[in-house]
């Protein structure tokens, strides 16, 4: 894990310095992404059989977290944690020419606020009303936009659905709606991982600042009120981290179970979304809710510790806190996922605890 983090950190070191200057310099970010691509990091989490570099979802999360921590604005997390993971689970091969693959959840041919779409060479499009397909970016119309953190958040209009697919083989099963659900779940997971990483960065920045800044004749770090606030921030960062790690763990387990089931039933890809994945879905929902709460509280603490310097454009903190505020909303805000979790609890005949912690004898007994 730390091997991956160290490698990505070493690669992005120089670019991170530029991010730390407070700018989201598009040229620098594109140069960073080109290097990540050249060294194969953008293909982590996609099976070799589908054109990837292998590695698990956990590896992809480590790659994404390392880049996010540094504040380098690239679509790396979206590619490895959402597009690669979805392509792998759906059995979609990614050709050599697809240098930047990003996910789109569309509704009857259009989508709004698609993160990073303007960077894509190819889009993995799941249309709720249609099919799922990998399409070349040249075949769709992209209207550039930005989110709260000045990260690309674009409109996408498809040319003509499946006809434009460069690779739709074996994809039709389950249809676009199931694939859209899958991408939304993976998107929530990706944002949870990124929120945890950004909070870790906020915590480290806050600790450094509290040690350096002197007031009342001593370092801020020596003031009990500041220690309390740092501890609160550390708690939120730890919660976001634990929640996203737990979700990764459940997703890996479901992935393994799903693939085993696929092998046995020879049903081909597309069956991933089965009962064995229900625990993963719950865990991802919980991660996005908890990470969203942590983003709010953690950003607040980090700003409170920093004082006025923290709300300037010149100091690095805003790169991370504006991202936190954007990411907590993307792929479903807390309320959306909380409702889904609550529905699950309500649907369980054995009550809240049994729905969270299943055991044989409940009807949720599964393939464990």
């Amino acid at each position: 894990m730390s091997e991956i983090r160290d490698a990505v950190t070493a690669l992005l070191g120089d670019h991170a310095l530029r991010a730390a200057d407070g700018g989201q310099d598009d040229g620098a970010a594109r140069a960073a992404f080109a290097e990540l691509t050249a060294q194969g990091w953008t293909r982590v989490g996609l099976p070799e059989s589908l054109g990837g570099n292998g590695g698990t979802l956990a590896d992809a999360a480590d790659v994404a977290a390392a880049a996010t921590y540094l504040g380098v604005a690239t679509p790396l997390a979206d590619q490895v944690l959402i597009a690669n993971a979805a392509a792998g689970l759906l059995g979609i091969a990614v050709p050599e020419a697809a240098t930047c693959v990003l996910p789109v959840v569309a509704e009857a041919g259009t989508a709004t606020r698609v993160p990073w779409a303007s960077w894509a060479s190819h889009l993995l499009v799941a249309d709720r009303a249609g099919e799922v397909a990998l399409v070349a970016a040249s075949d769709v119309r992209v209207t550039p936009g930005a989110n709260l953190a000045d990260l690309p958040s674009d409109g996408v209009t498809l040319g003509g659905s499946a006809g434009n697919a460069t690779n739709g083989a074996g994809v039709g099963r389950g249809g676009g709606a199931a694939a859209a659900d899958l991408i939304t779940l993976l998107g929530a997971l990706a944002r949870s991982v990124q929120i945890a990483a950004a909070l870790r960065r906020c915590q480290d920045l806050s600790v450094t600042y509290a040690r350096q800044r002197r007031q009342f004749g001593r370092a801020l770090a020596d003031l009990p009120v500041i220690q309390q606030e740092l501890a609160a921030l550390a708690g939120e960062a730890a919660a976001a981290q634990a929640a996203s790690r737990a979700a990764i763990g459940e997703a890996l387990a479901a992935d393994a179970a799903g693939h085993a089931a696929i092998g046995e039933a020879a049903g081909g890809p597309g069956n991933w979304w089965t009962a064995s994945a229900e625990a993963a879905a719950r865990s991802i929902a919980a991660a996005k809710v908890r990470a969203g709460l942590a983003a709010t509280a953690g950003a607040r603490s980090a700003h409170q510790i920093h004082g006025a310097i923290g709300i300037t454009r010149e100091y690095e903190l805003h790169v991370h806190t504006r991202s936190l505020w954007a990411w907590r909303d993307e792929y479903g805000a807390e309320r959306t996922w909380a409702r889904r979790l609550g529905d699950t609890v309500r649907a369980s005949p054995d009550g809240l605890w049994a729905s969270i912690v299943p055991a044989p004898g409940n009807d949720i007994v599964s393939s464990h």
């Binding site: 309390q228 634990a242 865990s283 919980a286 709460l293 807390e334 909380a338 979790l341 809240l352």
Partner: protein
């Protein structure tokens, strides 16, 4: 994994039957307030007390993970486990770590049989959060020690047979405040031991004041090394602070809240997300402890986050489904909410106040 699922199902079935038979009524905070010697013995008969201890000492030789399963189920059910709680959680492990073979043989089999209950004597009238300021002193004699002093907030001392007390065996040296303390195993029926009730604000009694006047104990009452009391106690605290009782004390209330049709799914879901995260965080601490690490910071964070979550459960219940509070109400939700409100200050006090714990975290983070 499947062993643990089977065990969970066994415990769940046992608890459902016990509840149906009227053996207990679910309560909030039952690990603190629910003292029921007969119920503890019924758990002992099933091997669920001291279950990780070696068989030669009456244990069941099972894993920490299996113990966690049992403890979680007992807490989630609101079962009365206070009688054996402290002996099972910290006295037994302390005896296994620091006790002599004689001490282990004397106490462990009786604890595991549910026949020997322990109180923990730490706080004193002038020593709350500042535990190193304790004054209860043990003076060496030819055959052992003579103990004088007063312990307070000693849960269930009026019903337990023994107390593990932290005492000074050397006078306080202000420059080395953490030295000179030792742990003594004290028989609460010994001459010179006076136990006086301290009623809590709900009119119940679990707290006591234990006055020790020239209490003579044998040399082999010393647990571990003379002068190592502080290290022994603080090592226990990581276990104590990160356990599931820090976030499951109000689970019966949360479960009852979730059953109410007037409570929106999203509100239930948000609490469930926090609960799942706390389980993951607590498991991470348990793993670290299992690897022989000392995750002081994370353990303190679990306690801080967990106890604040418990407060949020109570606040959410009142906000969404207020009822006239009545401890004697036949309505389960009303009764549980009443208990939880009356106990609500306790969660953020016991095991070290949250402010003190945050101070520990803050200082640890900024230590240069």
């Amino acid at each position: 994994m499947s062993d643990q699922l089977v065990l969970r199902a066994q415990v769940r079935r046992f608890l459902a039957k016990a509840r149906a038979d009227g053996a207990f009524i679910p309560r909030c905070d039952a690990w603190m307030n629910g003292f029921d010697a007969a119920f503890s013995r019924s758990l002992a008969e099933r091997g669920w007390i001291g279950m990780t201890w070696p068989r030669e000492y009456g244990g069941a030789g099972r894993s920490e993970g299996e113990r966690l399963v049992v403890v979680e189920e007992l807490l989630a059910a609101g079962a009365p486990v206070a009688a054996h709680w402290f002996a099972d959680r910290q006295i037994g492990p302390g005896l296994l770590r620091h006790g002599t073979p004689t001490q282990r043989a004397r106490y462990l089999p009786l604890i595991a049989a549910g026949q020997c209950f322990f109180a923990v004597g730490m706080s004193e009238p002038d020593s709350g959060s500042d535990l190193a300021s304790i004054r209860t002193a043990a003076r060496p004699t030819s055959g052992g020690w003579v103990v004088n002093g007063t312990k307070v907030w000693t849960s269930h001392a009026h019903r337990a047979q023994h107390m593990l007390a932290l005492v000074r065996t050397s006078p306080l040296d202000q420059r080395r405040r953490h030295e000179g303390m030792s742990q003594l195993l004290i028989d609460l029926s010994a001459p010179g031991v006076g136990v006086r009730p301290i009623m809590t604000l709900d009119g119940q009694q679990h707290f006591n004041e234990v006055v020790l006047t020239d209490v003579e104990v044998d040399a082999d009452a010393l647990l571990g090394a003379e002068g190592a009391g502080w290290q022994q106690v603080t090592a226990e605290l990581a276990n104590e602070r990160s356990g599931p009782e820090r976030y499951l004390s109000n689970l019966p209330l949360l479960a009852a809240l979730a059953r109410r049709a007037d409570v929106p799914e999203a509100e239930v879901g948000e609490l469930v997300a926090e609960l799942q995260t706390l389980r993951a965080l607590s498991a991470a601490v348990a793993d670290a402890l299992g690897r022989g690490e000392s995750p002081t910071v994370t353990a303190a964070l679990v306690k801080d986050l967990g106890s604040r979550f418990e407060r949020k459960v109570v606040d959410t219940a009142r906000r969404l489904a207020p009822v006239p509070l009545d401890a004697g109400s036949p309505d389960e939700y009303t009764r549980l909410l009443t208990e939880a409100v009356l106990h609500s200050p306790d969660a953020t006090l016991r095991g070290g106040t949250n402010e003190i714990l945050r101070g520990i975290v803050g200082r640890e983070l900024t230590r240069t």
